[in-house]
């Protein structure tokens, strides 16, 4: 029975078992209490530059949103001829398409087993649908007030940035959702443009910059990291330039944002690692290491 603590507890060692009655009270606290407590088992060490390199994906996405905004502003002001944008867009996407295959010698395509005919078909689908719907898009939101549209598209672009797949496996990441939000925003903005052609071209451009460009980026990052960094810098500076041509203040703010994301945040991440403290012990729910799907396939 668990009676009152008998004096000779020194020689009778307390042992962590339930099945035998020990001469200790039920609330006895041994010095071996919490001895299996472990801390920061899975804590990872980060390299500063590696983190900076990883953060470039975020930079890219921010810049593409910024570029999209700038282009839309130019077209809304009428400073940018739609044909010119169409031409450059087509040229760029063609080069990107060629690059896309050249980079990995086309074995990515072989893996996915996607034919060029399929690419052509989807391209045709894009063009035809956008062109067919552009009059509708034009008159779609004319009775909705402009501020509503702006608010909606800003919200959607933010959502695009939030849900974008930056390579981290979190619950909220959903590339589909982010792409759809971007397209929604582009449609909203396009419906504000003066002419039907403008709307058409704006939407195509949105496709290029939100759907195709990230795919190319991924491949670049995988194959040639060095030139990927170069491309990122180039892209960032072009975005900054475009923004500068619209408003200096916006440009400075944007530059600050980029710098803080690419340099400060990694720094803090590494600093805060020191204060990390998460507890492990026998009570943790054991996770299953090996994959069990092999038994079911």
């Amino acid at each position: 029975m668990c009676a009152q603590p008998v004096p000779n507890t020194t020689e009778i060692r307390w042992q962590k078992v339930l099945y035998e009655r020990q001469p200790f009270p039920d609330n006895y606290v041994d010095q071996r209490f919490l001895e299996e407590l472990r801390k920061n088992i899975h804590a990872r060490k980060y390299q500063y530059w590696a983190v900076v390199f990883e953060s470039s994906v975020v930079i890219q996405q921010l810049c593409s949103v910024c570029v999209f905004g700038v282009i839309w502003w130019y077209m809304d002001e009428g400073l940018l001829a739609p044909h010119w944008l169409l031409g450059t867009g087509l040229a760029l996407s063609l080069t990107g398409y060629v690059l896309f295959d050249l980079l990995d010698g086309g074995e990515g395509r072989r893996k996915s087993g996607r034919t060029r005919w399929a690419d052509l078909k989807s391209a045709l689908v894009f063009i035809t649908f956008t062109y067919g719907f552009s009059p509708v898009l034009k008159t779609l939101t004319e009775s909705v007030s402009t501020d509503t549209i702006y608010a909606m598209s800003v919200f959607m672009l933010l959502g695009h940035l939030i849900f974008f797949d930056y390579g981290a496996n979190a619950a909220i990441v959903s590339s589909t959702l982010s792409l759809n939000m971007a397209i929604f925003a582009s449609v909203c903005l396009a419906s504000r443009l003066p002419r039907t052609l403008h709307a058409f071209i704006m939407v195509t451009f949105a496709i290029q910059i939100f759907a195709l460009w990230p795919m190319l980026q991924k491949k670049l990052k995988a194959c040639t990291p060095r030139c990927y960094v170069g491309v990122t810098l180039l892209f960032a500076f072009s975005a900054l330039g475009g923004l500068l041509s619209i408003s200096a203040v916006g440009a400075t703010l944007f530059a600050l944002l980029l710098v803080s994301i690419s340099c400060l945040c990694p720094f803090y991440l590494i600093r805060l690692q020191l204060f990390k403290e998460n507890i492990h012990g026998p009570w943790d729910e054991a996770e299953i290491k090996e994959d069990l799907s092999r038994f079911l396939s």
Partner: protein, 484 residues
């Protein structure tokens, strides 16, 4: 409809496991308490917590205490029922939010609970299971009313993800001024102390128990082919995925190996797929049998059909299943998680790492032992295990806790607020201190609305002046009035 005591009839056999004789003898020795067990989980719901509450209450009644149970209404089972030996159960009409746990607003349950505490002259509130919102509500109200509180934690929690962080915070708040906490194993004690940032002195370890008379080995067991039994809910936490890996491995290795799997759950489909894929249920001999959900009384009959019991849980505070299996004389193979290593001595259990490989090795070891016949006889195992865990022992140790708590003082309001604010962090502490103040005001309002003098003092069915006499249920009231 109290006299309908359906529960009493259903669980009667499992309760009447020893003669009623010693009941009154203890009462002279120790002071008796009026104990109110509060939890969302009780019969007709089935599980470890439920049976724990039921058996513990029965033993406490036998030791001359007055015990009542408060839980929420299950379906049309509302109101007040009497179970075996006059165990009185209040099924309160509260809304159930998420798997059998009531929604908590921290206030809506106060009027009823206060009424019950007053009319039953409760002195000690004993809440069970940290998953039950009602239990935490009861603790909160009891402290406001200045009653002594005990809490039993039946489960383990991690510290990793957001949800567990939040629940740990709530647990901290609700336990920071609770008089005493009971855990079912040392691991669970460590866990609780860490989660709720408690002083380990006020945390007692009292294991669960099994009723050895319910789990006796089958004297004539067939030895033609080896059978492995698994009895658990088929969910992720119980490691059903591991099971789906183990079954094909072993079935391909040993041709005379069968599996019996009792239990229901979302992961059942995986096992069925495995069975399909490896043709383990051909018409000639079914090698993997899925029995589906089991009644508590059928468990023994399933267990004694096998030779080896396999437990693949990923986390357990105190695994009752392996004790039951061992008590039925089976060789137990289990994962080394949570409090399981503390439960059985090494010669009765084979502990493995939670992976398919290690578990297979453990099982093969068990099989080889079985074939070579070095395993002790089931009756021998039963006789060993029988001495480990009994409800009477649990009741005695719980009674000690009650006695100790009865000696302590409940924090007055100001002290309580201070403790909340000092102990639970600035934000949460303040919020809950405010809530406590509101709760107190609400209580004073209720006292003004219906003063305690207006509340009829209930007639004890159990306890020192218990009026319960085992007649047929209808004439209960008359019997009661004769005794007064």
């Amino acid at each position: 409809m109290a006299y309908r005591g359906g529960g009493g009839r259903r669980h009667g056999p499992s309760a009447a496991f020893h003669p009623v004789s010693p009941g009154r003898l203890f009462t002279c020795r120790t002071p008796t308490h009026n104990i109110c067990m509060v939890s969302d989980f009780f019969y007709p719901n089935m599980g470890g917590v439920e049976s724990h509450i039921y058996q513990l209450s029965q033993c406490l009644i036998e030791r001359g205490h007055k015990v009542i149970i408060v839980t929420h209404a299950y379906g049309n089972r509302k109101g007040i029922r009497y179970l075996t030996k006059g165990l009185k159960v209040y099924y309160l009409p509260l809304k159930v939010m998420y798997n059998q746990s009531t929604a908590t607003t921290l206030f809506h349950s106060l009027p009823l609970l206060r009424y019950i505490f007053v009319r039953e002259r409760v002195t000690i509130i004993h809440s069970h299971s940290s998953f039950s919102a009602m239990a935490h509500d009861a603790l909160f109200h009891a402290k406001t009313m200045g009653l002594r509180t005990v809490f039993t934690d039946h489960s383990l929690f991690g510290f990793a993800d957001v949800s567990s962080v939040l629940t740990n915070k709530l647990l901290t708040v609700s336990l920071c001024d609770t008089n005493h906490i009971i855990c079912v194993s040392y691991t669970s004690k460590e866990n609780t102390v860490l989660r709720a940032a408690l002083n380990p002195e006020i945390v007692s370890v009292i294991p669960n128990a099994v009723d050895p008379t319910d789990f006796t080995p089958d004297p004539f067991r067939r030895h033609d082919s080896i059978t492995i039994v698994i009895v658990s809910r088929l969910v992720y936490r119980k490691g059903t995925d591991l099971l789906s890996g183990i079954i094909p491995e072993l079935c391909q290795k040993y041709q005379d190996l069968n599996f019996i799997i009792g239990g229901e759950g979302p992961k059942r489909i995986i096992l069925e797929e495995v069975r399909e894929r490896y043709q383990l249920h051909d018409s000639s001999k079914i090698r993997v049998r899925l029995l589906g959900a089991l009644e508590h009384k059928d468990v023994r009959n399933v267990l004694v059909q096998g030779h080896i019991f396999l437990n693949t849980s990923l986390t357990e505070a105190f695994c009752m299943a392996i004790v039951e299996a061992a008590s039925c004389g089976l060789q137990v193979v289990s994962t080394r998680v949570g409090g399981i290593p503390e439960v059985l001595p090494e010669n009765l259990i084979i502990l493995c790492e939670p992976s398919v490989k290690s578990l297979c090795e453990g099982l093969e070891k068990a099989i080889s032992q079985l074939k070579s016949g070095v395993l002790p006889a089931p009756e021998k195992i039963h006789n060993i295990v029988k001495t480990f865990y009994t409800w009477r022992n649990v009741a005695e140790r719980t009674e000690k806790v009650y006695n100790r708590v009865a000696g302590e003082t409940v924090l007055p309001m100001d002290k309580r607020l201070e403790r909340l604010m000092s102990h639970c962090g600035p934000v949460t502490g303040c919020i809950f201190a405010l809530l406590a103040v509101f709760n107190f005001l609400f209580l004073t309002f209720l006292r003004w609305m219906t003063p305690d003098s207006l509340i009829d003092v209930a007639i004890d069915a159990t306890g020192p002046k218990g009026a319960w006499i085992n007649q047929y249920p209808y004439s209960r009231k008359r019997g009661r009035n004769k005794t007064r």
